[in-house]
């Protein structure tokens, strides 16, 4: 039980450290690209990187559990945000909000698909086809 407690503390520490880095990176992107564009840029680039990372992790054994927790659950999930996206959509003029919603979904999901395909090219072994 003590070892499990230490393991949990390590996981929480990795998530917290990753969260600090991811939120800071999003803040920096928002400072460079004010308004809706900053959130869009973070959400799309984060979806690309997370798609690559998670599919790469599924295909190969190169990524350990702790690295995945730090980078996926910590950094990349915190780098992107749904709450800011939802509030910005609600506050925008209707036409802008609709375009922002559809654009974020199209580009974000498309970016995750690109990340998945890049992971497949990095490791093209057919026996590594991902079972999901």
């Amino acid at each position: 039980m003590a070892a499990r407690g230490v393991d949990s503390a390590v996981v929480l520490g990795l998530v917290a450290a990753g969260g600090a880095v991811g939120a800071s990176a999003r803040y920096a992107v928002g400072a460079a690209l004010p308004g809706l564009w900053g959130t869009l840029a973070a959400n799309v680039s984060g979806s690309l990187l997370l798609g690559f990372l998670l599919y790469e992790a599924l295909r190969t054994d190169r990524l350990g559990d702790r690295t995945r927790t730090l980078l996926a659950t910590g950094v990349l999930s915190s780098y992107t945000t749904y709450s800011t996206f939802a509030v910005e959509t609600a506050l925008a003029a209707p036409v802008v909000g609709a375009a922002y919603l559809l654009g974020s979904y199209g580009l974000g999901i498309g970016a995750a698909l690109v990340g998945r395909d890049v992971a497949a090219r990095v490791d093209p072994r057919p026996d590594r086809e991902v079972e999901v």
Binding site: V15, A23, G46, Y79, Y82, S83, V87, I109
Partner: protein
């Protein structure tokens, strides 16, 4: 005035980083509590809806400045996630769960949008 006025001495990026650490841990804990091996990403949906409600309250009340950076940009921003939303949608679709993929996108949109609207009503915005 507010006890959080003391945060004024803390640089903005540090507020965002500290909030982000807390938000990410909150997302991990809520996500692991809610996701118990189901094939629907209920954890991601839950944090996105709850986080959108909280950020809505913060926005419409409105709370500004340092609290907004710490709780809004940092904690609510990191508590919710768009990248997991995108990737979970792709994984559901790839797995042949196309109806669930569409339902997941619709549920995030409608419930998070509804949560923001509810926050606006509760905060007295109109």
């Amino acid at each position: 005035m507010s006890p959080l006025t003391a945060l004024g001495a803390v640089p903005d990026p540090a507020l965002v980083a500290a909030g982000g650490a807390g938000g990410a841990v909150g997302r991990y804990l809520v996500g692991s509590a809610v996701d118990r091996g189901g094939s629907f990403p209920l954890g991601t949906l839950t944090v996105n809806v709850v986080g959108s409600f909280l950020l809505g309250l913060l926005t419409f009340l409105p709370v500004g400045g340092d609290v907004s950076l710490f709780v809004g940009t940092g904690a609510c921003g990191a508590f919710t996630t768009f990248s997991s939303f995108s990737v979970a949608t792709v994984q559901l679709w790839d797995g042949g769960e196309r109806g669930r993929a569409v339902a997941f996108v619709a549920a995030n949109t409608l419930l998070a949008g509804g949560a923001v609207a509810l926050a606006a009503v509760l905060a007295g915005a109109s």
